[in-house]
C-alpha cells in the first residue's frame, strides 16, 4: 500500500466523525486506539491484558522503527504508546521517536510529541538533551502555538543544568506582544526560580515589570514568583505592600473583567494569592499590618455567598488576620468566621474549621472553649481525618491538668494504626507532652512504654534519646530522681518477665540501657536476675545486632564474672560485626576484672562529664614506637588519593578526570581517629551522653518539675470515672464547674440522651480544664515574663516544626563572662595609649595575607594605625560600604573607635544601624576575622535615664554561631554605650542569609521592653582568601567533585582585561589570585569554616569562562552568583 493511500485511510475516520459530531468529542472512537481500548475492556483477566498489550507494543515497535511510517501516523502510534505506559507497561523504545516527533512534526504532531515526551521522560533522563535544540527552535518560532508548546514543555521537564540554555529566550518572551506568551514565560521562570533560584536572580526587575503588566493574567502569574520570594525574605519586599493592598482592593471591588469571575466571585485565585503574601508581609510588623486592615475587613465582608470558593477566601483571610499584627475588631470577625466553619454541617468546612482553631487557639484559647462541645463530637467522628485534626487541636491546648485525658485519646488513635507518617508524628507529640506535663512518675513511665511500643522502630530516634537523657540527667530533687528511675526499672523487669522478644528493637535498647544503669537502685534485686533476662533476650532470633550491642554493654555494667557472661562474650567474640565483637571482648575483659570495671563504668555516673581526648594523644607512644620500627606514617584519605593520582605518569588532561572521591571537611583539617571502632562503641554504650548538652530543645525540665506532684491529675481521673453522676461531682474543683457552665449545651440531666450529654460534658471539663483566662495565667503566654514570652510567641505563631527549630537556636541564659571581657577591652580602648599596646600575635594566615594583598591596598581607615589599613581597606566590600556609609555617617565615626582593639586590626564594614527605639539604639559592625565573621553590636542608651538588665539573644536558622549567642549586662547608664560580640560561620553555602536577635531591657520604671532586629548577611561575608601554590591548586582541583561552569562578562574597557577582571573579583569577594598563565587564571578561596572553592578562569572572545569546583555541593553555585553580581555592579 502506498503512503498516500494509507494517509488517506487514517485521515478518513476522523474526517467523517468531524461531520457528525460537534467539537472534538468521540473523535477517535473508531481509531486504532479506540480498538485497543475496546478490546481491553472485553478482557477478563490481567493475564490476557498483558498478552494483548505485549502484542500491541510489538506492533508499535515495528511501526515506529520502519522508516516509511509517516509522521501523521506516528502521532497516532505515540498516543497508543502513551496509553500503554499509563497502564503500567514500559514502552521505552518509543521515547526517542517521541522526541523525533516533537522535532520534525508540524504543529499537530509536535504537540503530541511534546506531550509524549513530558509523560515519558523525567528530569534526569539522558534523552532530554536531544530535545534542547528543538525547544530552542520552537521558542524562536513565529507560530504562537509552537512557542506556547515550547514554554509548556520547558516548565514541565527541564532540569537545573539545562536552564541556562533556554533562559535568555524565555526571558525575551516577557516582552512578547501576546499576553498568553508573557504569562507562560512568567510561569516558566517561576518554575526555574523553584528549581534554581540563583540562575534567575538577575531578572528581578523584569519580574517587577510583569507585576505591572496591563494584562491581569500576567500579573497573576508573576505573583507566584513574588509569593515565593516574599516567603524567603519578607523584609525585602515591604515596599510592595501598598501595591498588593491596592490590587486586592480592586479585585474585591469587582474591577477586573467579568471573565475572571468564578461562580460570580472575582478572581478567587488572585485574591488568595494576595492574602497569602499579605500574611508574610504583615507578620510581626505593626506598621505594615496597619496598611492592610481595611482591605481584609472588606474581603471578609464581601465573601458572603454560600459557595465553596467564598469559604476558601474566608479561610485564607482568617489565616492572614491571625498571622499579622493583631487588631481586635478583625480578630473578632475572624473568630466569628471560624465559628461558622466549625459549626457548619458540611464536613469539609468543619475540618477546615478545626484546622483554623488549631491555628488560632494559642492566641485565643477562649475560642476553643466556646466550641468545646463540637470538638468533643469531632473526637468521636467516624471519619478518621476529622479525629486526627481534633487531636492536633487538643495537642495545642494541652496543659498540666488535661494531659492525661488528651494523651490517652492520642494513644487510642495510635492503636488504630493509621499509617507510618501519622504514627511518627503523633508518637513525637505524645512523647513531648508526656515530658512536659507528666503528672507523676508512674504515668510518665507507662505512657513512654506505650509510646515505645506503638512507635516501634518508626519513631524518630530523638524520642528514646531524650527519654534516656531525662533519666540520666535527673533534676534537682534527688528523691524524685530515684523514684522515677526505680519505677522504670520495676516496669521493665515486669515486661521482661513476659515475652519481650516481640517488643520493638528501640524499646529493648531503652530497657537494656536503663536496667544496666539503674537496676542497682532496686534493693534485693540480684544482678544475676537481670543478666538471665538479658541472656534469654540474646538468644532470640528477632533481636538485631544493634540491640545485641546495647544488651552486651548493659551486661558489662552488671557482670561479676559469672559463667553465663563468659559464654555470651565467647559467642560474639567472633561475630562479623566489628562493633559487636569489640563489645563482646570488652565484656570478657571487664567481667574478670572488678577493679577495672569500677573505674571504667562507675555506678550512677552516666551523666558525669567525661573527659574526651579527641586528639587521641594516649596513642602517641604507640604511634612513635610503630614509626621507629619502620611503619609507614598515617596519611589521610585525600592525601593517599592525590598520591595515587600523581603516580599516573601519562596525564594528558590539564586537570585530569573527575575522581570519585568526596573530600569531607573533616579530613582536610586534622588527624582522624585511626580506630573508628572505639568511638562507635562508646556511643552505643552511653548514647545518653549526647554531644549537645544543655540544649534547650530537648528537655523542658522546668516544665516537668513544675507540675509534678500536683493533685489536679487525681481530680480529673475521678471526673472521668464518675460519668453517670447527675449533679456535678463534689470532687470537681470550682474551676471545672466554671468551664462546664460556659459550655453551650448545659442540658438538664434527664433520660438517656441527657445522660450521654452528661458524659460529653464530663469529658469536656476534663479536656478543657485550665484553659480559661482565670486559670493558669501563664499557660498561653499572655502575662509571661518577657523572656518566656519570646519563646512562646514563636510557638503561637508558627507551625510546630518551625517552633522546635527556633527553640533550638534560641538560648536565653545570661552569659556575663562575655560582656565582662568586652568591657575590659573597652576600658583599654578608652585610655589614650590603648591602641597598639596589646596587639595580638599575627597568625600565619594573617601575615601571608598582608604580603599578597599589599599591592592592592586601598586606604580607607587611615586613622587607625599602619598595618590594619592594608587589611581593612582591602576587605571592604564595595556595595555594602557604600550603602551603609550613607545611613551611618552621623554615628559611624564615633562608634568605630569603640571597636574592640583586636578587631580594629582586621577588615570590617562600616557601621550599620540595626534598630532603635526611644531608649536604645543598636548598630552593628561586621568584622572579617580570618576564621569567622564577627558581629560587634553597639548598644547605645540615647535616653537620659539609665537602663538595667539588658540581655541580648541572637539566633539564626542557617548560620552557625560559634560564640556569643547571648549576653547580659546589669545596667547601662544614660548616654552610655556597650558592645556585644558574636562570631559565626556559614556551614552550608547560601547566597544570602540573615541573623535576627532581640534585646530586652528594663527601663527606669521597671518596665520590660523588647527591641528586635535582624541583619542580612551574604556569602561574601564568609569568604576568605585561600593561599595556595599552583601545584597545590592542581592537586586539590582533582579532589573536588562539585563543579559549575558559566560564562561571565569580561571587563572590556581595560588593557589587560583578564587580569583586570580577576583583580576586581579578588578585591570584591576576597579571593586569592593564585596565578595567571596566558589567557587562563586560577583563583582560590574558602568559605568559613574552611570549605575550599577553586575557580579556573579562561578568557576568550570577550567573555570569561569560569569553572568552579568545591567539595561542598552548593558552594560553586552561590559563589558564581556573587561573581556575576560583583562584575555587574562594577
Amino acid at each position: 500500500m502506498s503512503d498516500v493511500v494509507e494517509k488517506t485511510l487514517t485521515a478518513l475516520p476522523s474526517l467523517l466523525s468531524l461531520d457528525t459530531q460537534s467539537g472534538a468529542g468521540k473523535l477517535s472512537a473508531t481509531s486504532k486506539l479506540g480498538n485497543l481500548i475496546r478490546s481491553l475492556t472485553e478482557l477478563t483477566s490481567k493475564h490476557e491484558e498483558e498478552k494483548l498489550i505485549k502484542k500491541e507494543l510489538a506492533a508499535i515497535k515495528e511501526q515506529v522503527s520502519s522508516p516509511n511510517t509517516p509522521l501523521r501516523q506516528m502521532k497516532e502510534i505515540m498516543v497508543r504508546a502513551v496509553y500503554c505506559e499509563m497502564l503500567g507497561y514500559e514502552a521505552s523504545f518509543s521515547y526517542i521517536h517521541a522526541i523525533k516527533l516533537a522535532q520534525q512534526g508540524s504543529v499537530l504532531e509536535k504537540r503530541v510529541g511534546y506531550l509524549a515526551v513530558s509523560l515519558f521522560l523525567n528530569e534526569s533522563h539522558d534523552l532530554l538533551l536531544l530535545l534542547v535544540n528543538t525547544v530552542l527552535k520552537d521558542l524562536q518560532s513565529t507560530n504562537l502555538i509552537e512557542v506556547c508548546m515550547a514554554l509548556t514543555v520547558v516548565s514541565q521537564i527541564f532540569p537545573k543544568d539545562m536552564i541556562p540554555a533556554v533562559l535568555p529566550l524565555v526571558e525575551d518572551k516577557l516582552t512578547h506582544s501576546k499576553e498568553i506568551i508573557r504569562r507562560k514565560a512568567v510561569l516558566a521562570l517561576y518554575k526555574f526560580y523553584l528549581i534554581a533560584p540563583n540562575q534567575v536572580q538577575h531578572i528581578h526587575d523584569k519580574f517587577r515589570k510583569a507585576l505591572c503588566d496591563k494584562d491581569p493574567g500576567v500579573m497573576t502569574a508573576s505573583l507566584h514568583i513574588y509569593l515565593q520570594m516574599i516567603k524567603e525574605n519578607p523584609d525585602g519586599f515591604k515596599e510592595l505592600t501598598g501595591s498588593f493592598v491596592t490590587i486586592l482592593r480592586q479585585v474585591v471591588g469587582g474591577k477586573l473583567p467579568v471573565d475572571f469571575n468564578y461562580h460570580s466571585v472575582p478572581a478567587p485565585w488572585l485574591q488568595i494569592q494576595l492574602l497569602r503574601m499579605l500574611a508574610f508581609l504583615g507578620k510581626e510588623d505593626q506598621s505594615t499590618s496597619e496598611m492592610m486592615y481595611e482591605v481584609l475587613d472588606e474581603s471578609l465582608r464581601r465573601a458572603e455567598i454560600n459557595h465553596n470558593i467564598t469559604y476558601a477566601i474566608l479561610y485564607e483571610c482568617v489565616k492572614t488576620i491571625y498571622t499579622i499584627h493583631p487588631k481586635s475588631e478583625l480578630l473578632e470577625k475572624a473568630a466569628k468566621c471560624v465559628g461558622k466553619f466549625v459549626l457548619s454541617p458540611k464536613i469539609n468546612l468543619k475540618y477546615l474549621g478545626l484546622k483554623a482553631l488549631t491555628y488560632v487557639v494559642q492566641q485565643d484559647p477562649n475560642l476553643a472553649l466556646q466550641h468545646q462541645m463540637t470538638i468533643i463530637e469531632c473526637l468521636d467522628h467516624p471519619d478518621s481525618i476529622i479525629k486526627r485534626e481534633t487531636l492536633e487541636l487538643l495537642y495545642r491546648i494541652t496543659n498540666g491538668q488535661n494531659v492525661a485525658v488528651i494523651v490517652e485519646r492520642m494513644l487510642d488513635f495510635l492503636r488504630l494504626g493509621k499509617g507510618e507518617h501519622t504514627t511518627i508524628d503523633l508518637v513525637g507529640k505524645v512523647a513531648e507532652l508526656a515530658e512536659k506535663y507528666a503528672p507523676d512518675n508512674g504515668w510518665f513511665i507507662q505512657t513512654m512504654n506505650t509510646v515505645f511500643f506503638l512507635g516501634g522502630d518508626m519513631m524518630q530516634p530523638e524520642i528514646p534519646n531524650n527519654f534516656l537523657r531525662l533519666l540520666a540527667e535527673g533534676f534537682d530533687n534527688a528523691d524524685e530522681n530515684r523514684q522515677l528511675r526505680l519505677y522504670a526499672v520495676d516496669s521493665y523487669l515486669s515486661l521482661l518477665q513476659t515475652d519481650a522478644s516481640s517488643l520493638p528493637q528501640r524499646f529493648l535498647q531503652v530497657i537494656s540501657w536503663v536496667l544496666g544503669e539503674f537496676s542497682f537502685l532496686k534493693t534485693g534485686l540480684e544482678p544475676t536476675v537481670v543478666l538471665v533476662h538479658f541472656g534469654r533476650l540474646l538468644e532470640q532470633d528477632r533481636i538485631t545486632t544493634e540491640t545485641k550491642i546495647w544488651i552486651l554493654s548493659a551486661m558489662c555494667k552488671l557482670c561479676r564474672g559469672e559463667a553465663c557472661m563468659e559464654e555470651a562474650a565467647q559467642r560474639y567474640s567472633s561475630s562479623l560485626s566489628t562493633t559487636l565483637r569489640q563489645q563482646a571482648l570488652e565484656l570478657h575483659t571487664l567481667s574478670q576484672n572488678e577493679g577495672l570495671r569500677a573505674s571504667v563504668l562507675p555506678r550512677d555516673a552516666s551523666w558525669d562529664e567525661l573527659e574526651m581526648d579527641s586528639s587521641l594523644s594516649f596513642l602517641d607512644g604507640f604511634v612513635s614506637d610503630a614509626l621507629a620500627q619502620g611503619a609507614a606514617p598515617y596519611k589521610p584519605p585525600h592525601q593517599r588519593q592525590e598520591e595515587l593520582s600523581q603516580e599516573k605518569v601519562l596525564n594528558f588532561e590539564p586537570y585530569g578526570l573527575l575522581l570519585p572521591v568526596s573530600l569531607s571537611a573533616g579530613s582536610l583539617t586534622d588527624r582522624q581517629s585511626p580506630t573508628g571502632l572505639s568511638l562507635s562503641s562508646g556511643l552505643s554504650g552511653n548514647s545518653a551522653d549526647l554531644p549537645h548538652k544543655g540544649g534547650s530543645n530537648t528537655l523542658k525540665l522546668e516544665g516537668v518539675r513544675r507540675v509534678w506532684g500536683k493533685e489536679g491529675y487525681l481530680l480529673e481521673k475521678e471526673a472521668e470515672v464518675e460519668t453517670a453522676v447527675v449533679v456535678p461531682s463534689p470532687l470537681e474543683s470550682s474551676r471545672q464547674q466554671d468551664d462546664a457552665e460556659r459550655a453551650p449545651l448545659d442540658a438538664p440531666a434527664l433520660g438517656p440522651t441527657a445522660e450521654y450529654e452528661q458524659v460529653k460534658q464530663q469529658l469536656a471539663s476534663s479536656l478543657f480544664v485550665g484553659l480559661g483566662p482565670q486559670n493558669e495565667p501563664c499557660l498561653m503566654g499572655k502575662s509571661d515574663a518577657p523572656l518566656q514570652r519570646f519563646r512562646r510567641k514563636n510557638k503561637a505563631q508558627e507551625l510546630p516544626v518551625d517552633t522546635r527549630k527556633k527553640l533550638t537556636d534560641t538560648y536565653s541564659s545570661h552569659n556575663t563572662v562575655d560582656s565582662l571581657l568586652d568591657k575590659d577591652l573597652l576600658d583599654s580602648l578608652s585610655s589614650p595609649q590603648g591602641e597598639g599596646q596589646t596587639r595580638p600575635q599575627d597568625t600565619p594566615l594573617h601575615s601571608d595575607l598582608k604580603d599578597t594583598l599589599k599591592s592592592q591596598a586601598v586606604d580607607r581607615l587611615s586613622r587607625v594605625e599602619g598595618e590594619s589599613e592594608l587589611l581593612g581597606g582591602d576587605m571592604e566590600l564595595e556595595p555594602f560600604s557604600e550603602q551603609s556609609h550613607r545611613q551611618a555617617e552621623p554615628l559611624g565615626l564615633g562608634l568605630m573607635s569603640r571597636l574592640p582593639l583586636e578587631l580594629c586590626e582586621l577588615g570590617h564594614s562600616q557601621i550599620l544601624n540595626l534598630s532603635s527605639d526611644h531608649t536604645l539604639s543598636l548598630s552593628v559592625c561586621k568584622v572579617y576575622r580570618e576564621d569567622a565573621l564577627v558581629l560587634v553590636i553597639f548598644i547605645c542608651n540615647t535616653s537620659s535615664s539609665p537602663v538595667d538588665e539588658i540581655s541580648v539573644q541572637l539566633s539564626s536558622e542557617e548560620l552557625k554561631v560559634l560564640d556569643g549567642l547571648d549576653g547580659a549586662l546589669p545596667a547601662l547608664e544614660s548616654h552610655g554605650m556597650e558592645t556585644f560580640r558574636c562570631s559565626m560561620v556559614m556551614e552550608t553555602p547560601l547566597v544570602q542569609s540573615s541573623v535576627s536577635g532581640t534585646v530586652t531591657y528594663h527601663a527606669c520604671a521597671g518596665l520590660a521592653h523588647e527591641l528586635q532586629f535582624s541583619l542580612g548577611l551574604t556569602l561574601v561575608d564568609f569568604i576568605r582568601p585561600l593561599l595556595l601554590s599552583t601545584e597545590d591548586y592542581g592537586k586539590l582541583w582533582l579532589a573536588f567533585n562539585h563543579d559549575v561552569k558559566q560564562n561571565l562578562q569580561l571587563l572590556a574597557d581595560q588593557e589587560d582585561s583578564l587580569s583586570a577582571t580577576l583583580n576586581t573579583l579578588t578585591e570584591k569577594l576576597q579571593l586569592h589570585l593564585v596565578d595567571i598563565i596566558g589567557m587562563e587564571g586560577i583563583v582560590a578561596c574558602q568559605l568559613l569554616p574552611g570549605r575550599p572553592c577553586l575557580l579556573h578562569c579562561h578568557a576568550h572572545t570577550g567573555s570569561l569562562a569560569v569553572w568552579l569546583r568545591s567539595p561542598v555541593p552548593d558552594l560553586p553555585d552561590c559563589l558564581l552568583y556573587h561573581c556575576q553580581k560583583a562584575l555587574r555592579e562594577r
Binding site: S155, R183, D259, A267, W269, N348
Partner: protein
C-alpha cells in the same frame, strides 16, 4: 503548589496522571497505588481532604471518575477542590456533557486542556473563556491541517 493530579476510575484504573515535581517511576507507581487505596474505600459524603505523608490530598468524585490531587502543606484545600471543579467544567465545555469514555478515548485532549489550565502546579488561566479559546484555536488548526493532509491524495 499542586504536586500531582490523578484521575482514576472506580475500579482503580488510572485515566490520567500529571506530575508537577520530578519523581521516579517507582515512586509514581507507589503514589498511584496509595491514592487509589486511600480514596476508593471512602464512604460517600465523607471529608474530601486527606493526609498522606507530608502532603494534603484533595479528591472529588464526578460520576464514575475520581479526581485526586496532592498539595503542599500551605495550600488551600477548598481552593484545590475548586481547581478540580474548574477542570471538570473545562472538560465539559470542550467535550459537551463529558463522561468517562470521552476521557478514556481522548485522553491526549484531556492532557492538552490540563496544560492550558495548569502550569508548573499553579493555575495558569483562571478565565474559562481563554482556555476554551486557546483549545479552539489549536483545534481549528487541526481541522485545516487535516483538510490539507487529505488533499494531495487526489
Amino acid at each position: 503548589m499542586m504536586r500531582f493530579l490523578l484521575l482514576f476510575s472506580r475500579q482503580g484504573k488510572l485515566r490520567l496522571q500529571k506530575w508537577f515535581t520530578p519523581l521516579g517511576e517507582r515512586e509514581k507507581k507507589k503514589i498511584v497505588r496509595d491514592m487509589t487505596m486511600m480514596v476508593l474505600p471512602r464512604p460517600p459524603r465523607s471529608c474530601n481532604f486527606l493526609l498522606w505523608r507530608d502532603l494534603k490530598i484533595v479528591y472529588k468524585r464526578y460520576a464514575s471518575l475520581y479526581f485526586c490531587c496532592g498539595l503542599e502543606p500551605q495550600d488551600n484545600e477548598l481552593l484545590a477542590l475548586e481547581v478540580l471543579h474548574r477542570y471538570v467544567e473545562l472538560l465539559d465545555k470542550y467535550f459537551g456533557n463529558v463522561c468517562e469514555l470521552d476521557i478514556i478515548f481522548n485522553f491526549e485532549k484531556a492532557y492538552f486542556i490540563l496544560d492550558e489550565f495548569l502550569m508548573g502546579g499553579e493555575v495558569q488561566e483562571t478565565s474559562k473563556l481563554s482556555v476554551a479559546k486557546s483549545m479552539e484555536e489549536s483545534d481549528l488548526l487541526q481541522e485545516t491541517m487535516e483538510e490539507y493532509m487529505s488533499k494531495p491524495t487526489f
